[in-house]
Amino acid sequence: MAARGFLLAGAVVLMGAAAPPPGAASCSGCHGAANPDGIPPIAGRPVADLAAALNGFRDGSRKATLMDRLAKGFTPAELQAIAAWWSEQP
């Protein structure tokens, strides 16, 4: 995604970071730093791993407590975009 800086009506407006795709901003409510026995971190993990997990939750092939219920609210393309964005987060 392009850097969020552009020229508009004579004013330079600098945005902080690439805007997350729909739904991605919610994830950090649960997925933060690692903590023992806790919800796993997702930031910076390989996009293939994240996409495989999300698609597995969506189609039921991967065991879940809760993520199966959330992944079903997205199309595979939307899950791919979420995986790609999170893989690039620090």
Partner: protein, 416 residues
């Protein structure tokens, strides 16, 4: 979405922030709970050039999630306390005062120390206030003897201490309100953990949960847990069984329904609620007491340039939860940043996740995914729902651990 997000929607004359010769746009956030604290920090992340001011009178925030564990003697209150010390490091100016007036036309907030704050956009996250007197007899004074503990803090400790002082074989009565109210499954988690306390420490004592509803969040999960864990300890009285409390008398210590007058040793009254008072003062609350919003930007339907998030908002299918407030805060911050850039905000997708504990090692959850449809945030069909009814005890234990993990993460994101 990228193209629409970048679309220019106004001429330079319609751009107050830009018209001030590139001076930074100003956003004021009112309310430092899960919604407001998250919004202020999210805005600094997505739009570092925007000046963000957070207006919050309390130096300490007491988190409601997990406060039921405090009441049941399972958790120290210190674990619920958060402050605003990290806000300055994130570039947020904190005004330790209450917002007393909002002039939507002048785009100005007046705070309790007399200062005024001008804004380009305002994010209002005022939480709930109690509709004192809506339940006859339940006044602010009555809460000193019949605690609500529905805003965490001294009330939480009062209920904890009163529970600990309950006589052997004593009776606790709880009253749960009609919808909508903060934290839909909260009364049932509280009833569970109070029952856990009674079972552990006061084996002959009993809890009666009087309800103004016939159905509630995670109902079958709670009822299955009660049957397994607290038989003979916890009795739920539904609306149609006469559970609606119609009057309380704090001096006499009585709680009245249409059919019975209870005189418990301890009454916990969760009163009817509405949006925090500043919402009505700003003109963004409607006749219901809550705030109608645009589901893409969270901008008020009633006043321009004021965005409402969290418990105060009418968020369609989204419940009034800490997770929802945090998710809305991030979506709203992005929309506000876009609007300040004169770009059209992309349609958000929102998520809610909410854990409840029926016992310290017995957790379950409800989840939902939402999108704007027909002007409101609407549940996406086929997604969301509650934990499996037949899940094994290991899953319940894992969800209890995940609840704790969620609390650590969300409070770190909101408060730093």
């Amino acid at each position: 979405m990228k193209t629409t997000r970048r679309a220019v929607i106004g001429g330079v004359l319609a751009m107050p922030a830009v018209a001030r010769a590139q001076s930074a746009a100003r956003v004021v956030v009112v309310g430092g709970g899960f919604g407001g604290a998250s919004a202020a920090r999210a805005l600094r992340r997505v739009a570092p050039r925007v000046e963000v001011t957070l207006v919050e009178p309390n130096a300490t925030f007491f988190a409601c999630p997990f406060s039921n564990e405090v009441i049941a003697g399972l958790r120290d209150m210190a674990a619920q306390q958060f402050g605003y010390a990290h806000m300055a490091a994130a570039g947020i100016r904190v005004i330790p005062a209450a917002a007393t007036a909002i002039d939507a036309e002048a785009r100005r907030v007046t705070v309790s120390d007399g200062r005024t704050l001008d804004y380009d956009r305002l994010i209002l996250s005022p939480g709930v206030d109690f509709a004192w007197g809506a339940l006859p007899g339940y006044t602010e004074a009555a809460a000193a003897t019949m605690p609500h503990a529905w805003k965490a803090g001294p009330q939480t400790l009062l209920l904890r201490d009163r529970l600990a002082a309950l006589p052997e074989g004593g009776l606790v009565v709880m009253s749960a309100p009609a919808n909508p109210y903060r934290c839909p499954p909260g009364p049932y988690e509280r009833a569970s953990l109070i029952a856990h306390y009674l079972k552990t420490h006061k084996p002959r004592a009993k809890l009666i949960l009087l309800d103004s509803k016939d159905a509630f969040s995670k109902q079958r999960l709670f009822q299955n847990a009660w049957k397994a864990l607290y038989p003979g300890v916890l009795e739920w009285v539904s609306l149609s069984s006469g559970g609606k409390v119609i009057e309380v008398d704090a001096a006499a210590g009585t709680v009245k329904t249409d059919f019975e007058t209870y005189k418990p040793d301890l009454a916990n009254i969760i009163p009817p609620q509405r949006a925090g008072a500043i919402a009505a003062a700003a003109g963004v609350a409607d006749r219901t007491g809550w705030c109608p919003i645009d589901p893409v930007t969270f901008e008020s339907r009633l006043r321009p340039n004021i965005h409402v998030i969290g418990d105060a908002a009418i968020a369609g299918g989204m419940p009034k939860s800490a997770f929802a407030a945090n998710a809305q805060a991030k979506a709203c911050a992005q929309a506000v940043a876009d609007l300040l850039d004169h770009a059209i905000p992309a349609e958000p997708r929102l998520i809610n996740t909410c854990y409840s504990l029926a016992a310290p090692d017995y957790g379950f959850s409800v989840a939902g995914v939402y999108r704007p449809a027909n002007g409101v945030l609407t549940d996406i069909e086929g997604a969301g729902g509650t934990s499996a009814l037949d899940a094994p005890v290991e899953t319940r234990a894992q969800e209890a651990r995940y609840a704790e993990s969620w609390f650590k993460t969300i409070t770190a994101e909101a408060f730093g």
